[in-house]
């Protein structure tokens, strides 16, 4: 319920901000409306659980770009009430460009496949699945079946199926095999994976269970499972922990989503798959920096105010 309110609120704020940017005449007012839009975008990112991207959005856009816009305005504007009076031709050109953009946006909207699968990513979405407990709060009894490549159905201690949990969530629960905190503390949310008699499940036990699954329950194709199990049983993989099993079953970046908000994904993405574009952008920014430094070079020799006879 809260997420719905927040989501629509942020969306409305973003739209209002965008219109504000279009309609307001005073340049500093436009900057404030832009702030509203960027803030709303950050809010949406947070709602999506992408905390890192939301924070970076705030830092870079709201804190950086916007400040520089206002700073530029302050230095160069003749007076605060400067109005824009665009000419007829300019309005026309702007209209054409905008319509083209809108068209592109609509096309993308229509053609993209909106995967509306029961992916459990955030606590918010988990709440919608009717279970108001935190997924990790359960005594995760056993993995009953694979729902799809990335999800398993889990039965808790009382045998009640607690709905789809991502392997990531499973790995996270296992990740916190609590060497520090004793298990079983009443308020403890992060239960480790237990086996039947209450001991934390080890990698081998999970492996055994996955083996024991009847084929039809295995949504994952056999080849991947076999290869994973083979890799696990190879002599040089001594400590088979749950997350290694999860890692073997899922695809490469399964484990990477362990902490749930994608920072690791972003890092791997930037330095892994998309290294080249990342470097190109940094070179571009360097050029911008040098340009700005050149533009703002001091025309009057600011020799630290030595003054003296003129």
């Amino acid at each position: 319920m809260l997420e719905a309110i927040l989501f629509y609120g942020f969306a409305a704020m973003a739209l209002a901000g965008a219109f504000g940017v279009l309609l307001s005449r005073n340049i500093v007012r436009t900057a404030v409306w832009l702030l509203a839009t960027l803030g709303a975008a950050a809010g949406l990112y947070f709602l999506l659980g992408a905390m890192f991207v939301g924070a970076i959005q705030l830092i870079v856009y709201a804190g950086g770009t916007l400040v520089l816009i206002i700073f530029g305005v302050m230095l160069t504007s003749k007076n605060p009430h400067m109005r824009f009076a665009p000419r007829r031709a300019e309005v026309a050109v702007a209209a054409v460009v905008c319509l083209a953009l809108v068209g592109l946006l609509v096309w993308v909207l229509l053609h993209s496949t909106w995967y509306v699968g029961p992916i459990v990513q955030t606590r918010a979405q988990w709440a919608q699945t009717g279970v108001n407990e935190h997924p990790w709060a359960h005594d995760l009894q056993a993995v009953t079946q694979f729902l799809d490549a990335n999800h398993v159905a889990i039965v808790d201690a009382k045998g009640v199926p607690c709905g789809p949990v991502t392997l990531a969530g499973l790995a996270r629960a296992a990740w916190y095999e609590l060497t520090v905190m004793p298990q079983g503390d009443q308020g403890d949310r992060r239960q480790p994976l237990h086996d039947a008699d209450g001991k934390p499940m080890s990698g081998d036990q999970l492996l055994a269970e996955l083996h024991a699954l009847p084929p039809q329950d295995r949504a994952i194709d056999d080849a991947a499972l076999e290869s994973a199990i083979a890799a696990l049983e190879s002599p040089d993989a001594p400590a088979r922990t749950v997350q290694q099993v999860a890692y073997a079953c899922g695809d490469a970046d399964l484990l990477t989503d362990a902490d749930g908000d994608g920072t690791r994904n972003i890092g791997l993405g930037f330095l892994g798959v998309y290294l080249l574009p990342f470097e190109v952008i940094s070179v571009l920014l360097l050029a911008v920096l040098i340009g700005a430094a050149y533009l703002a070079r001091p025309r009057v020799p600011a020799s630290g105010g030595t003054g003296g006879g003129r």
Partner: protein, 405 residues
């Protein structure tokens, strides 16, 4: 785009009324590639925390860069000179107090000496010693205030309070001698109004012993503070020849390395018998004649004043005569004129007194040191940053009462 020169000539200090500027019209001449920051006329004063008193400096700035700084004075003008033409000689003494209200004793002394020279009066030796003691103590008090407010101008709040803690003790001594703490009128024509109370000299020595280590404390706290040096060294440099050409005097002149001190150049009273050095700026932290030098000259002068007062206190025992010469009921100096200048804490305070034989002077002209020192502000403050203007004004140490008279 408003043409740049047109905005320079309009001297209107208020922001021009909103104009519908068609930003997109690209007239080739107006817009050049660089970032065109717009010049502003900024009014620093007359109500401004760092212009000592009611000084107004109109700054033409381009961003943080100050292109021109024109001081406007006259907000504290009380036409003291016109009043001087309607008062008897000794009645004008209280007016001299209010000129440089931080160094009342020195102002009285200047006028009293001018009138005594005009009237050919001979002041007893003891009175001369008392006058030198009070003049030098007032110099210390005045330099303390200038050191404290200079710290304030640069953002260091604490030295101001330490300086006033010491100044209070001097004011207590003055209060014991003449009852007043700011406008004393203690030194009058012919000597001093009253002799110093018993035990005053011992308390004065006690103060000097307490005060001497304090100067070292100020140096550690402010003078050698790295940020203070960064803010004042090489800022507002006045070369010696320009200083003399502009008629600067006092610590401002000596800060530029010119060893010109009226206590040595034209020694009056008992200054001849005192041994003290003239402290000049040596460019220790930057160029000779920068703000730091002017500031440090004042600190060194405080030490010299302490030496002078100690010597006076030793020698006053042997001095003959009372505290005041025998004065006629109404002083009618012979017709004539004289100009007499002495070394006030801020520079040369000189009085041109013209008498026409009656009991009232024909013309009294006061040459205020701050009036002359302030004139160079425009030349020094161009091409400096906005934050340097308070530093330069503070180092020139202006008292508006003396500028506007």
């Amino acid at each position: 785009m408003l043409d740049r020169d047109e905005s320079r000539t309009t001297a209107s200090l208020i922001i021009p009324d909103p104009v519908d500027v068609d930003v997109t019209r690209d007239d080739a001449a107006g817009v050049d590639s660089d970032v065109m920051t717009e010049e502003m006329l900024v009014n620093m004063g007359p109500q401004h925390p760092s212009t000592h008193g009611v000084l107004r400096v109109v700054l033409r700035t381009d961003g943080e860069m100050v292109l021109e700084a024109t001081p406007h004075v006259g907000y504290l003008h009380r036409c003291a000179e016109k009043i001087g033409e309607n008062l008897q000689y000794f009645q004008f003494i209280p007016y001299t107090d209010r000129m440089d209200y931080l160094a009342g004793m020195n102002n009285n002394l200047a006028f009293a000496l001018a009138v005594e020279k005009l009237a050919g009066l001979e002041v007893p030796e003891r009175a001369q010693y008392i006058r030198v003691i009070f003049a030098e103590m007032n110099r210390i008090a005045s330099h303390l205030v200038s050191m404290g407010t200079y710290g304030l101008d640069l953002g260091a709040f604490t030295p101001f309070l330490y300086a006033f803690r010491e100044r209070e003790l001097i004011l207590d001594l003055f209060e014991a001698a003449c009852g007043a703490r700011l406008t004393y009128s203690y030194i009058t024509v012919g000597g001093v109004t009253d002799d110093i109370p018993a035990g005053w000299l011992e308390r004065c020595v006690e103060f000097l012993d307490y005060f001497e280590p304090k100067i070292k404390e100020y140096n550690d706290l402010l003078s050698y503070n790295h940020i203070f040096i960064k803010r004042t060294a090489n800022v507002g440099v006045i070369p010696p020849d320009r200083a003399i050409a502009w008629g600067l005097s006092g610590p401002v002149l000596r800060g530029s390395g010119v060893a010109w001190d009226l206590r040595k150049a034209t020694p009056d009273l008992v200054y001849g018998r005192m041994d003290f050095e003239v402290c000049t700026g040596k460019g220790r932290m930057g160029a000779v004649g920068d703000c730091w030098d002017r500031y440090f000259v004042r600190i060194e002068e405080m030490e010299q004043s302490v030496r002078i007062v100690r010597q006076c206190i030793d020698q006053i025992g042997g001095a003959a005569g009372g505290h005041k010469a025998k004065m006629p009921k109404i002083l009618k100096p012979p017709a004539g004129e004289t100009y007499y200048g002495i070394e006030n804490p801020r520079g040369e305070l000189g009085f041109l007194v013209i008498s026409d034989g009656t009991a009232v002077p024909y013309r009294v002209k006061a040459r205020g040191p701050s009036f002359c020192n302030l004139a160079i502000l425009n030349e020094v403050a161009t091409d400096c940053l906005l934050a340097d203007v308070p530093a330069i004004v503070g180092s020139i140490d202006v008292v508006m009462g003396e500028v506007d008279r």
